[in-house]
Amino acid sequence: MSAAAETFEQLIRHNTAAELVPFLLALDKKDVLPVRTRARSLSSELDKHEQQPNGQLRRPMQPRQSLMLFLAGLATYSQKEALSGWFSNGHHLSHNVGQLTEQADQLHIWTILRHARPSWLTTWFLRNHRNNPWTNPDFDTLQALMAEGLLEDVPELLAYATAQSLYLLGSDVDKARTLAEQRTKGRKTDHLHTIEWNNLSARWSALAAGEPLPPTWDLLLAELRGNDALLHRGLPLLFAHDTAVDSTSTYDRTIKPFRSIAWLDVLPELARSGHLDRAELLTNCLLALRRDFRRPLLTWFKELFLSLQPTPDERLARQADLTELLAHPLAQVVNFALDQLKDLWLLPGFEVATLLLYIDNLLTRPDLKTGLKSLFASFDRLLKASPALAPTLAPRYATALAHPDAGVQERAAKSLTALLGAKKPLLDAAATADIVVTLQELGELLSTPARALLVPWLAAAPAPSVAQEAYAPRAGFVPDISEATAIAPVADWHELLFLTGQALKPDQPAEQERWLDGLLRLRGQYPADYVAQLRPYLLQAFPWLLKGKTEAETANILRKMDYGRRAGQRDFLQAMLVGWHGGFAQPQVVRTRLDAQHQLYPDPLLGLARQRLLAAEARLAPGAGPLPLLSTPTHQPFWVAPTALVAKLLAYETAGQEPDPADLTLALSRLAWNAPADAATARQQLASLQNPGLRELLAWLLAPSDATPPLPPLKPTDESLLKKATSRFTQWVSGETPAPPTLAEALPWLWAVAARTRAPQVSWPELATLADYPGLAEPWQPGWYMDVKTHTINQSYNKEQPEYIYQTHELTVPTAEPAAPPSPLLLYSLHARLPQKDHSYIWPLLEDPNFLLSLVPNNPAPLHWHLLRSAFSTSEGYSEEQALLTKQLHASLADGPVYEEPATVLLAVGLLYSKPAARALAWEVLLAAADTGRLVPVALGTALGRLLAGTYAPVLRLADALPAARGISPTTDDALRQLLEALLPELPAEPLRNTAKLLAAYADLRPGAGKPMPAVVQERLQTWQSVGSLKKAVTTLLA
C-alpha cells in the first residue's frame, strides 16, 4: 500500500486545502497513480448519499473535501478520470462555485493548475460545455487560462462565455445588493455568504466602503466598457458561433417594474459610446445572417442590425453582404434583405446586375410572398427609371407566375401586364413572343386573378379546366366478396408460429384474426415440441417476467399470471398465448380484467371481444371440439361472407354445439349482407339450418338489398326476465360468471343488431318492445355543437388578479344521463350513455382503434360519435389524440359506404387539426374519398364552416392547403367547390381572419361549376362586400 496514498487520505479526511497543496506539489511521479486511485475511491465514498437515522439522505462530502478532491483531480487525473461524472459537476472553476470559493482557495487552484498543467483541460471544458454549458468558467477565467497556456484557444467556449457574461454580471450585482442590504440591517450571514461578500467587495470597492452601488444599467455598462478582452475578443465571436446571446438577459431590480436588460440594449449603447465599432457591428450582423443558425438567433442578428438604424449609405456600402443574404434558405432572412435593399435600387453605385443573379433563385420560392411583392414594386420603380431594363425584367415577372401563391402571381401579372401593354412598346416582337409562350406553358398553374389580368396575352392559351364531371356521393356500397379479396387461412404450423409475433403486436386486427383462426383450425397439427417453439414469443410478450427464467420457473410464473386490471385486445391475445403454451389446460383469458384504472375506462366493445375469446379458448381446451369462430373475417378488410357464416352455423349444428352469442353478434356486424351473389347463395343454404330463430333472422338480414323486409313482431320482454338477463349479461362480461347466455336468450338482441347492421339510420319501432334505449327503435345520432366553456383559475398569490378567467371553444357531443344498456350484445348502443364526467376512454381507443373499427364495418357511426366525443373536443390535442386521429384517418382511407355524419365531422377535425402531419393525412383522406365517392362535400363543408365559426381552429389551417388540392381532377375540383359553397354560408357575417384566402380558392374553383352560385353563398358574400379586405374578391365573385 502506498504511503503517499495513505497520507493523501488522511489529508482529505482531516485537513484542509492549504495542507494538501504542498503535498500535491511535492508528489513523486511514482505516487501519482496510487493517489489518483485513492482520490477516485474517496470521491465515490464521500459523494454517495447515506440514509440518516431520521430517514433523511445526506451526502458526507464536505465543501473543503470537495475542493481538495478537485485539486487532487487536477494534479493527478488522466483524461479518463477527468471525464467521469462527478468531476465535471459543480467544479470550482465554474463561475457559480468559484464565487463561493475563498480567495485563498482560488489561489490554491491556480497553483495546482500551473504545476500540473493537465493536458485534458481543453477536452474537459469542451465536453462539459456540450453537456451543460453552465458548468463552464466565465469569460475572464477562460481568458486567464488561455493566457497562461493552460487552455487551448477554443472560440466556441469563449463565445458562449461572452454571451453568458451579461447574465452573470447582472446576477453578481443583484447578489451584491442583497448582501449589502443584509449587512446594513445587521442580519447574520452564513459562511458561504461571507465568502461571496468578500469576493464581491473585492471586485467593487464601493461595497467594502459601505457605499451604495450605482444603478445596475450604469454598472453593467461600466464593467463591460472596462473589459477590453470581452469587447474586442469576446463580442466578435458572438457573430460566428451559435450562442445563447439572443436569450441572455438580466434585470435591473433597482427600478420598478424591473427592467430587463438584454444584449440588444447593451450593444447599441456600446456602439454609441464608441466602445464598439458601429461599422464592424453592422457588417458582422450581415455576415452572421448568412449562417444557418437557429431562427431566433438569426432574428436577433436582424434586430441588432435594425436597432443600429443604418443609413442608406451604410447599407449601400454593404450591398454585397445584403445581396448575399438572398441565397439564404430562411424566408425571414431573404425578406429582411429585400427590405433593406428596396430603397437602394435607384441610388448611384447600386449594382443591379449582381442582384439579379440572386433574384433568379427567389422567384418561385414558395416561402416568399410579401418579399416578392415588394421586390416587384422595386422592379417597377427600376423600370420606370430605366425602361431599357424591360427585356431583363419581363422574363423574371413571367417566371414568378409559376409561384404557387395566387397573390404573388397576381402581383407579377400586374407588372407584366403594365410592361406588355405599355403605350410605347418596351419589348421587341421576339421578346414579347417568348413571354407569351411562357404564359401559355403555365396553363392551369395561373390563378384566376392573374389569369384575368393576362387575358389579352392568353388568347391562344388553353382554357382553364372546366369541371365536366360533377361530383356526387356514391349511392350505395357493395363489399367485394370475391377471390380477389378472400383472406387466405393460415396454411401450416410454421406460418402459424411466425404469425404469432405479428399477432401480438398492438392493433393488428388482420393478423390477429388469422392467427386466432389458425389456432382453431390447426389444433391437431401442432408439433410435439410446439411449447418450446413458442417460448421465444412468450419471452417477447413478457420479458420483464420471464427473462433468465428456467422452464420450471416459467411454468410457475405463468400458472399465477396476473394480466393487470386494464386489459385490451393485445392482453387477451397474450393470455391466449399463455393458454396455448399450457396446452389450454388452464383458461387464461378469463384472468384478464376489464376494469377502470383511475379515471381510465375500457371500451365496452372489448367486453364482446373478450367473451368471444373466452369461447375460442373453451373450444381449444383438451377434449373440446375446435369449431371455428363465426366472426373470423373471410374477405378483406373485415367482411364475413354470408355463405361462410351459414356454412359454419351448419357445422355447429352438425357438431351439436350452440354458437356463442358474442361471436354470433360480431359475425352479424361483420356480415357482408349486401354482397348480392354471395348473399343469394347463402339464402339458398339457409333451408338446411335447423334452428328456426336463426334461420328467420338470417333470412331477413340476407334479403336482397333493394327491398328491406319489415321486422317481424318481437315479443315484448318480460320486465323481470329483462332484469335477470341484464344482470347475467353484466356478470358475463365482467367475467364473474363465465357461463354465457343461451342463444334463445340472446336472439331478441341479435335481431336488434341485425336491424342496425342492415339499416343503421332507419327507425325500427318494432325494436321499442325490447327496451327504451338509444340504438334500438331509433339510431343513436347525438349530433354536436360548439360550446363556449368558461374556466376560472384561483391565483391568490396574485393580488392584482386573484382570479384568472379564460374561455375555451369545445366541440361537444351531447350525451344523455348514464345508464347501462339492456344487453351487452347491443354493440351499436354500448357507447350511447356511457358516463362522461371524470371518465376517460381515450386509452382503449388509442390502443385498439383499428380492432374496434374492424368489429363494426357496416355501422361504425356510434363508435365514431364516441371517438369524436372522447378525443377531439379541441383541435389542440396531445400526441395521444394526434395518434388516434391518424389511425382513424388511415382507417377512413379504405373503400366503404359514404361517410356518415360523425365520420365527416372527424374528417373536418382532421383538416383543421393543429398538427400539420394530421392535416396532410386528412387531405389525403378527402382526396381518396372524392375518388371513391365516400365524400359528402356538402356535409363536410357545413361541418367545417360550423367548426370555423365556433373558433375551433383558425381559417388559415384550411385555406393554406386548398390551392394544392386544386387541379387534381375535375371531379375533385367540383367536390371542393361544393364543399366551399356549403362552408361559406356557415361563416359569420363579421369575417374571420384569412377568409379572403377561402374566397381566393373559391374563385379558382368557380369557373368550372357550370351552374350559378347558390343564393345562400351570394347572400353571405354580399354581407362581406363592405369589408375592405374582402371587397375586391367578393366583387369579382359576384360579377
Binding site: S119, H241, T354, L362, G501, Q533, R919, E924
Partner: protein, 448 residues
C-alpha cells in the same frame, strides 16, 4: 470497439491573402502514402460560391441529428480520384448520407495524388465558407504538401477526431442501397424549389410518399402507385439552402422502398447527393442489406486482386466488369460487398458506377464491422448451437438455433424468404437484413 482516431496537423481554414482566398482542408488519410499525408488536390474552384454552398450543406448534414444523440462530428471523408473530388458525410444519427461531387468542370487545378482522407470541418471554417461570396475566387487545397505529424505540446494545433466505426458501416450499407436504386422522378428547377412546400411542418413520424400531382411535387402520407417512399421526410430540409440553386433534381429509390436518394444537379460539375434511410431511427450503420451477399466468404486472394484492380481503375461498372472478366454477376456482387464492407467502394448514381476509396485494405474489418455476421460465425463455433430439424418440401430447412434463454426456430432455403422466431426478425421482418440466427443457419445448411 475502439473508434479510429484521426489527427490533423492543423485545423482547416479559409485564409485570405493578397494572392486570393485559399481553402486549405487539413487531411488525415488512414491509408496515407509513404512519407506522410499527401496533397491530393490543389487548384481553383470554378464556382467557389456554389462549392461553398455545397460544403456548407455537407457541414449541416454532419452537424444534424434526428434522434437524441451525443455531440456531432464535422469531419467528412474526401476522395480524390478519376478527376473528381467527392466529399461524403453522414448525419450524427447516421440516417442521412450526403455527398458533394466536384467534377472536372468544377475544378481548375491539379490532382497530385489519388486518395481518401478525412478533412477537418471546424466551426471557423464553416463560418468562413458561409461568407464566400459569388464573385470571390477561392483556391482549394486538400491535404498538405509538407506535413509532419508530430506533437509538440502546447505549440502545434492538433486535434484528434474519433471517427465512429458506424461511418464505415454506413458506407457499406449506403453503397449497397445506391447500387440497387432506380430513378423514379425528375424535377425541374421550379419543381425542385417547391419540393419542400408540401411537407408538413415539424418532425414527421411515419412514411411520406413523393409524387407529382399535376406539375407540383407533393409529399403525401399515403402510398400510391408511382409514389416514392421517403421515410423521415423532414430530413430533406437539410437541402433547403441548395434546392433553389439546383438546375434539376433526380429522385431515386430502392425497389423495396428501404432507402431513397435525391440528386441535385447544380451545374458546372457540381452534384449533391442526399440519401435517406427508411426511418428516422434507422441509421445506415445498422442496416444489414449486405449481409446476404457477404454470407459466402470469397477467397482472400480474390478480394485482394479485385482491390488492386479497382484501386488502379478508380471507377467501374459492375455489369461491364463481370462481362469483361467473365465473372458471374453474383460473384461481382459478393466482391463489391466484401470491398464495401471495408468502406472501400462507393456508388455514383449519375454514372451508374462504383468508385474506389483509398482506405486501408483490412479484411478483418468485414467481420468486425458486421457484428451479426460475426455472431453468426460464433454460433457455428459451438458444436450444438445450430441444429438441423428437417428438410421439407422445396428444400425448406427447419433449424433450431440457440438464442438467449431460448431456442429459435429458423426456416431457411426454398423459395420463401428465411424466417426466425427472434425479436429482431419479428420486429423487422427481414427488412433490415437477416438476424444472426438466420445467418448461422444459412452458413451451416446453405441459403438456397
Amino acid at each position: 470497439m475502439a473508434d479510429f482516431a484521426y489527427a490533423y496537423a492543423r485545423p482547416s481554414a479559409l485564409t485570405h491573402s493578397a494572392k486570393g482566398n485559399v481553402l486549405a482542408l487539413a487531411a488525415y488519410a488512414e491509408d496515407a502514402p509513404a512519407g506522410g499525408t499527401a496533397c491530393f488536390f490543389s487548384g481553383g474552384l470554378a464556382n467557389s460560391w456554389l462549392a461553398a454552398r455545397g460544403l456548407t450543406t455537407l457541414a449541416k448534414v454532419v452537424a444534424s441529428r434526428f434522434v437524441p444523440q451525443s455531440a456531432a462530428l464535422r469531419d467528412p471523408i474526401v476522395t480524390a480520384g478519376a478527376g473528381l473530388l467527392r466529399f461524403e458525410a453522414f448525419s450524427s444519427c447516421n440516417g442521412v448520407y450526403a455527398r458533394l461531387d466536384l467534377g472536372p468542370d468544377a475544378l481548375e487545378g491539379e490532382f497530385l495524388a489519388s486518395g481518401t482522407t478525412n478533412v477537418d470541418f471546424n466551426e471557423p471554417m464553416v463560418n468562413a465558407l458561409a461568407r464566400v461570396s459569388r464573385t470571390e475566387p477561392v483556391l482549394l487545397r486538400v491535404g498538405e504538401q509538407e506535413v509532419v505529424l508530430e506533437r509538440a505540446a502546447g505549440t502545434v494545433t492538433e486535434r484528434k477526431v474519433s471517427l465512429p466505426e458506424r461511418w464505415i458501416k454506413g458506407l457499406t450499407a449506403v453503397q449497397g442501397y445506391l447500387a440497387e436504386m432506380e430513378e423514379r422522378l425528375t424535377l425541374t428547377k421550379t419543381q425542385a424549389t417547391q419540393l419542400l412546400q408540401g411537407l408538413p411542418a415539424g418532425a414527421l413520424r411515419g412514411d411520406y410518399f413523393l409524387l407529382l400531382r399535376g406539375p407540383r411535387p407533393s409529399f403525401v402520407p399515403v402510398a400510391s402507385a408511382g409514389a416514392v417512399r421517403v421515410g423521415g421526410a423532414h430530413r430533406l430540409r437539410l437541402l433547403d439552402g441548395l434546392l433553389p440553386l439546383c438546375e434539376s433534381l433526380r429522385v431515386y429509390a430502392t425497389p423495396d422502398g428501404q432507402a431513397s436518394a435525391f440528386v441535385l444537379a447544380m451545374g458546372g460539375g457540381h452534384e449533391f447527393v442526399l440519401a435517406l434511410s427508411a426511418e428516422v431511427n434507422r441509421g445506415f450503420s445498422g442496416e444489414g442489406n449486405q449481409l446476404d451477399t457477404l454470407l459466402d466468404e470469397l477467397p482472400a486472394e480474390w478480394i485482394t486482386g479485385a482491390n488492386n484492380l479497382f484501386r488502379g481503375n478508380e471507377t467501374f461498372n459492375p455489369t461491364l466488369f463481370a462481362l469483361e472478366n467473365d465473372l458471374a454477376p453474383d460473384v461481382v456482387d459478393r466482391l463489391c460487398a466484401s470491398l464495401s464492407a471495408m468502406g472501400l467502394l462507393g456508388f455514383d448514381l449519375a454514372s451508374n458506377q462504383y468508385f474506389y476509396r483509398r482506405l486501408p485494405f483490412k479484411l478483418e474489418r468485414i467481420l468486425k464491422l458486421n457484428p451479426r455476421l460475426k455472431n453468426a460465425r460464433a454460433l457455428l463455433e459451438a458444436t450444438d448451437d445450430v441444429q438441423l430439424v428437417g428438410v421439407g418440401a422445396g428444400g425448406r430447412t427447419e433449424v433450431r438455433v440457440r438464442g438467449t434463454d431460448v431456442w429459435h426456430t429458423v426456416l431457411v432455403g426454398g423459395a420463401e424468404p428465411p424466417r426466425c422466431t427472434c425479436q429482431w426478425f419479428t420486429g423487422n421482418q427481414g427488412q433490415r437484413g437477416p438476424c444472426k440466427h438466420i445467418l448461422a443457419a444459412q452458413l451451416r445448411f446453405g441459403a438456397a
